[in-house]
Symmetry: C2
């Protein structure tokens, strides 16, 4: 199993810089007062394709030899990785095929198509995603870029907290959402090298707590058919991400669906940024476990902002005719 | 009439830096494609109090002698200046009294109170605002800080485009909303000094087109009772802002209520930032007059992000019980 190292992160940064934004780090006096901590929000909702996934996808796509790239790339994804891989492939001028659950949010399907990606639909289960992708790869010869169980992707995601570390000195902890674990693994990779004293917390929905259960049990727990409004966090850990989670993550903290929605709208209202439910899990667990973070400098990764604005999660809302 | 000069802008910048954010400049490939221009959005929705008004208010408040400051400050405002003056006064530890139309948005009233400001309600007319403020000032001895017809306020607002000019080279035009004209006047003040070749466009709702009418007629046209979803832009020009508008503004461009709302939601969805309707007028006029901006580098000032998220403008929307 190829585990990326810090040299891979530095190479990723150099490789992807032309294709991504260096996203801003925002602060909110209001949220600092509310939580009793000093929060630094790394805003990957303002990233290309509206999510940190642009980093890993660009690192994978732009690292391919020309002969391999010619067959295109393929993946399965619950959403943002799909848009990200389509974006990266389009920037390189190669094709991208995305296996996607038929019930994925319309905004994420539209994003894939808008970047020129081809969608192949599957059932919303881990098994269906994987077997469908295998078929696509065997038919096209495309290079499969797993959304997180891929050393190139993890090294790419690691550049996010690398920037945060450069922009904010002395972080005592970083909190980031966990789904399959790609972002958390990249966070571990960067911080274990540059700031091993910084604690790393993963934030997960109670309704999709497979990573939390894995940490309790000491081995990967697979759960299928998890339902959460944080639709990006329903996937399970894989060997590469489990490696980082079990070695470097201080704890996994859980939040309910209501807590996630409340944190999301609080962020919209007070920080004036659109974040998707999956992103809000980080603030939700900080609000729930204030004692862990009080009087400390805390990095918070806002992972993405892809929401159907006209049909926003957890609310009934429509534009007037 | 005291007209601020560029030295006042530099002094303002030094004075207010501890109390405001240097806001990021964001770009959107999607909006660049859509408009055919290269747009640089100066995001004052991410400013303290959620609006550029923090700049002018801080400059006025922190420029006061201690003996005058002791009596507090007062103003009338349709919204964001009210929150901004309350914020600035609280940071200095003095009182702020705000005369506000009784129909001002709940979020803006709540903001004033959350910063410790006192609200005195008036009718939603220019005359009622002004006479009520005169009464407050005579009763309290407070220093009146007009939301825009004030040299200190204009010099403060001028720091916004000063930062934009520093961050983005070679802007061919800047587009900013116009209400009473404080931001546009500051923009004129900065650019006439640093980049006189940069064209300045003001963006105004058709439903509150008093500045446009003023420019046509060659003198200030006052209109009372204007109604627009862009509630920050209903005020009329005053002598100091008219001075800058007539000397330095290339044109005033108009947008309808629907165009403003469409531009607002487009920004929410594609840029992942919450902007208020008054901010969206700038993008709305760029979309409407693409020929003026095609293939050019255009600065766009996003003026604020104070929206009632749970009762957002132009849509019916509620959280589930």
């Amino acid at each position: 199993m190829d585990i990326p190292n810090f040299d891979d992160v530095l190479a990723a940064r150099e490789r992807i810089t032309p294709y991504i934004h260096r996203t801003p780090v925002l602060t909110s006096s209001y949220l600092n007062q509310l939580t009793g901590a000093e929060l630094f929000f790394k805003c990957e909702n303002l990233q290309k394709v509206g999510a940190f996934k642009a980093r890993g996808a660009c690192n994978a796509v732009f690292g391919l030899d020309d002969s391999i790239a010619a067959n295109g790339v393929a993946t399965h994804s619950s959403g943002n990785h799909a848009g990200a891989l389509s974006y990266a492939a389009a920037r390189r001028g190669i094709s991208a095929t995305v296996v996607m659950p038929h019930n994925a949010p319309a905004a994420k399907k539209a994003a894939v198509r808008s970047y020129g990606g081809q969608i192949v639909e599957c059932e919303p289960t881990q098994a269906s995603r994987e077997t469908t992708l295998e078929r696509v790869v065997s038919e096209t010869g495309a290079d499969a870029v797993h959304p997180y169980d891929d050393a190139r992707v993890i090294a790419g995601q690691a550049t996010c907290v690398l920037e945060l570390h450069e922009d904010v000195a002395g972080l005592e902890a970083v909190v980031a959402p966990i789904g399959g674990g790609g972002l958390i693994s990249g966070t571990c990779l960067t911080l274990s090298q540059l700031a091993p004293e910084t604690r790393i917390y993963a934030a997960e929905p109670i309704n999709a707590d497979d990573a939390w259960q894995s940490l309790q049990k000491g081995e990967i727990v697979e759960k299928d058919g998890q339902h959460s409004i944080a639709d990006g966090l329903k996937t399970n850990l894989k060997p590469r991400t489990w490696h980082f989670v079990r070695h470097y993550v201080s704890d996994i903290l859980l939040a309910s669906e209501d807590e996630i929605l409340d944190a999301m709208y609080l962020t919209w209202e007070r920080m004036k940024i659109i974040i998707e439910p999956s992103s809000a899990v980080a603030l939700a667990v900080i609000l729930k476990h204030r004692e862990l973070f009080r009087d400390q400098r805390i990095g918070v990764v806002i992972t993405g902002g892809n929401v159907d604005i006209k049909n926003c999660p957890g609310c009934d809302r429509g534009r007037p005719a």
